[in-house]
């Protein structure tokens, strides 16, 4: 009997400890997410760029979106002159087309690229890359391709292979380029990060490719706007007592979704006056046109501190 009691006691203790651990650790993990979300976004940006690249390759049908968003940045360094030709062709057709384009570029596709002009070059490198990618492509990328492009994914690989052979017939240099492309898997990522990522995201219409982060220039511009509107009482005594924090929620149109809320505390009439002045500045500052759509998640909720003490050194 005694033995049983000790066993029961130890079991109970273990259960308690383990249970406590589960609860406490799980609670911690739950708490963590908000801060961690930032790094996760950053990491995902690269993956997203790859994904977007894959999407581009997958989208044979919709070359236009890609073209539109692609800017100047598409120079492909690694590719040989021949590749550049391919690029033009490829660009016209978007990711999937490239496989065919590779052959066609010389023949057919060169025409479509022309209308597209600058934007195409960027796309081209990707398609080239993508051909190699399918084999190596990450599951995520494939999944995305399958989702977004559905058909394109299978086609690119199959079609890509056939089209390429024709090219070699004409020019063997193409083979080298293919090899380079295969080796260049890294390059595509680079390209995607720079110009391509933007293009891909746009074409997909999906959310954000690049990790959106509030730039210092956005914050500085907003700070400058508030400073110009924040009316501070001249010669105020004990300004260190008048530190006011205003919490705001912004709509995507950069206007306040609700009246500003003063979340700092102070009960004196002077503090009330200071809080009113801070709220007036926030109200007058809208719309905050300096904020970018891409960073909405980060300026949707903001805490703005109004600290007057540095203005009164004496």
């Amino acid at each position: 009997m005694k033995v049983d009691k000790t066993l029961i006691a130890s079991v109970a203790l273990h259960v308690l400890v383990i249970g406590w651990g589960l609860v406490s650790f799980s609670a911690r993990s739950l708490e963590a997410p908000p801060p961690e979300s930032m790094p996760v976004d950053i990491i995902s940006a690269d993956q997203l760029s790859r994904i977007t690249a894959g999407i581009k390759s997958g989208e044979k049908d919709k070359p236009k979106p890609l073209v539109e968003k692609v800017a100047d940045a598409t120079p492909v360094d690694d590719n040989v002159g021949k590749i550049t030709e391919k690029k033009e062709i490829v660009t016209a057709s978007a990711p999937e087309p490239p496989p065919k384009p590779v052959e066609k570029p010389v023949e057919k596709k060169p025409d479509p690229p022309k209308p597209v002009a600058d934007s195409k070059p960027k796309d081209e490198p990707k398609p080239i890359e993508k051909k190699p990618d399918p084999p190596k492509v990450d599951p995520i990328a494939e999944a995305l391709k399958s989702e977004d492009a559905k058909k394109p994914v299978p086609k690119p690989q199959a079609k890509a292979a056939p089209p390429q052979p024709p090219k070699p017939k004409q020019e063997r240099t193409f083979d080298q380029s293919k090899i380079a492309a295969l080796l260049d898997k890294r390059d595509p990522t680079r390209q995607s990060i720079t110009g391509a990522a933007l293009n891909s995201s746009a074409s997909l219409g999906s959310t954000h490719g690049n990790a959106p982060s509030l730039s210092q220039s956005e914050l500085d511009a907003m700070r400058a706007r508030l400073a110009s509107l924040w009316n501070v009482q001249p010669g105020v005594e004990h300004p260190e007592e008048l530190y006011v924090t205003v919490r705001i929620r912004l709509n995507p149109d950069r206007r306040l979704a609700a009246p500003p809320e003063v979340v700092s505390t102070g009960n004196s009439p002077r503090y009330q006056a200071a809080a009113d002045a801070a709220v007036r500045a926030v109200l007058q500052g809208q719309p905050y046109t300096m904020l970018r759509d891409e960073t909405y998640d980060q300026w949707k909720y903001m805490d703005i501190d109004f600290d007057p003490k540095q203005m009164f050194h004496s």
Binding site: N231, E237, R247, R249, E261, D276, Y301, D305
Partner: protein, 454 residues
């Protein structure tokens, strides 16, 4: 001079306001859980400038009230502008003409002229002849009423109504107590320099409504207001020695404070108005005494072979600051109100080795103002009661006799440029900003600010 006041009810909120309020409440409930995800922005630079405020003429209840309606707005405008904390907007820029003070103004039109605050009001005549005043203070950016009051008074006191409204606006927008509904007693000086006539005079803090309390046959100096009654105390050169007098400014009744051998001078009321503290001459020295005005009992506070003068109570009545040359040159000392050990607090930190005189304790308790003499200059300054944080507000040929406004944020003093000219009154913010000349009929010196009248 009675003014009755009561709070003006807020205008009924429009449906839009209610909706916004509800949204704000909802946001408040949701936000705490998101606190960790907030983007923080710190603003440490602002626009240190007077607050732009629009004060259109009040709406007259009848055509006969037009003059007083415009006058009230003008007095408010003048008060707020002179404070240095407000920038009244030129009425020529106004877009909306206020015709109905019972309806919310068109905030967009006031926003467009950069007004941050707006004052609307109405002056009407009651059937019994009394004047009825209403005003509302609006936050233009938020579209909300910040405060609203209404008052009844006799028509001749319309300026007081304007001062009271000025104080309400000042208090709501700065968080500091106002000081506009107050008066100043001073020494009016007229005639040639060698035969200057000095009369006691009383006026509103903005220079209006000047009244002369004495005829000028006897020399008067250092008038001081009672904090609790309609009385002043001052020194007057009569037939014999100069004496400290007490005078009711409503009835004109006058009496000598105490019956002392020798000269009594430099009087000042205690914060409760029940006692007068002053200097009594004893040979070549003078010491501080306090007399209870009811029992007439007199208590000695200092006993030194030196000149102790210019005593002034702390607002809580616990301590006294005064001027003494017991250390050689005049300096400022602080001691308990019951007498005892005095501690010197003034130490000239520049190379002028200056002396300090005419200390006066702020009604807020946070500063002691003084006249500093050194380097051929007379300066007005303030320091904390422990002697730290000395700040010179103005310097020149001759500045003297600071007195605090009821809110402790503004000082009045007199300045004499020398030569054949005479002294004038000036105000300056305790930050050293916004020096303003106070309009007086002639030369003026020795000002003393009253407490708030209401």
């Amino acid at each position: 001079m009675s003014v009755t006041s009561f709070s003006l009810p807020r205008l009924p909120l429009s449906r839009r306001h209610v909706l916004i309020g509800g949204a704000g409440l909802g946001a408040g409930l949701l936000l705490p859980s998101l606190a960790g995800a907030q983007t923080k922005l710190q603003v440490t630079e602002g626009n240190v400038a007077p607050l732009p405020i629009a004060i259109p003429d009040f709406v007259p209840g009848s055509p006969a009230d037009g003059e007083v309606s415009a006058g009230v707005a003008q007095v408010i405008t003048n008060n707020l502008r002179r404070s240095g904390l407000f920038a009244p907007i030129d009425p020529a820029a106004f877009i909306e003409k206020i015709v109905n003070v019972d309806a919310a103004p068109q905030f967009a039109s006031w926003k467009s002229i950069n007004a941050q605050a707006l004052v609307t009001g109405r002056m009407t005549r009651r059937s019994d002849g009394r004047l009825h005043a209403e005003f509302r203070l609006w936050d233009v950016a938020a579209g909300q009423q910040l405060t609203g009051q209404q008052y009844d008074t006799a028509p001749e006191f319309w300026r007081r109504i304007a001062h009271i409204i000025s104080d309400q606006i000042y208090e709501r927008l700065t968080g500091e107590k106002g000081y506009f509904d107050s008066r100043v007693v001073f020494v009016d000086e007229s005639g040639p320099a060698e035969r200057r006539v000095k009369r006691l005079a009383l006026m509103d803090q903005d220079g209006a409504n000047v009244r002369y309390l004495t005829r000028g046959t006897d020399l008067v100096l250092t008038p001081r207001f009672s904090p609790s009654t309609q009385e002043i105390t001052y020194m007057e050169f009569g037939q014999g020695d100069p004496r400290v007098y007490l005078r009711n400014i409503e009835t004109g009744q006058t009496e000598i404070v105490g019956n002392f051998p020798g000269m009594s001078f430099s009087p000042r009321f205690s914060p409760d108005g029940q006692r007068v503290i002053m200097s009594l001459q004893q040979g070549g020295n003078s010491n501080l005494f306090v007399m209870d005005l009811r029992s007439k009992s007199t208590t000695r506070l200092t006993d030194t072979p030196a000149i102790d003068t210019s005593p002034s109570y702390a607002p809580d009545g616990s301590r006294i600051c005064f001027e003494s040359d017991r250390g050689g040159k005049p300096q400022i000392y602080v001691m308990p109100a019951t007498g005892g050990a005095a501690q010197r607090i003034s130490f000239s930190k520049d190379d002028t080795n200056g002396s300090y005189s005419t200390p006066v304790w702020s009604p807020r308790g946070d500063y002691i103002a003084f006249t500093k003499q050194g380097g051929g200059q007379f300066s007005i300054g303030i320091m904390k009661p422990d002697g730290s944080g000395e700040r010179i507000l103005t310097s020149g040929f001759h500045n003297e006799g600071p007195t605090f406004a009821p809110n402790g944020r503004v000082l009045m003093f007199f300045r004499d440029p020398g030569g054949n000219s005479g002294p004038s009154l000036f105000t300056v913010d305790i930050s050293g900003r916004n020096e303003q000349k106070v309009p007086t009929p002639g030369f003026a010196s020795d000002p003393a600010w009253s407490p708030l009248l209401s």
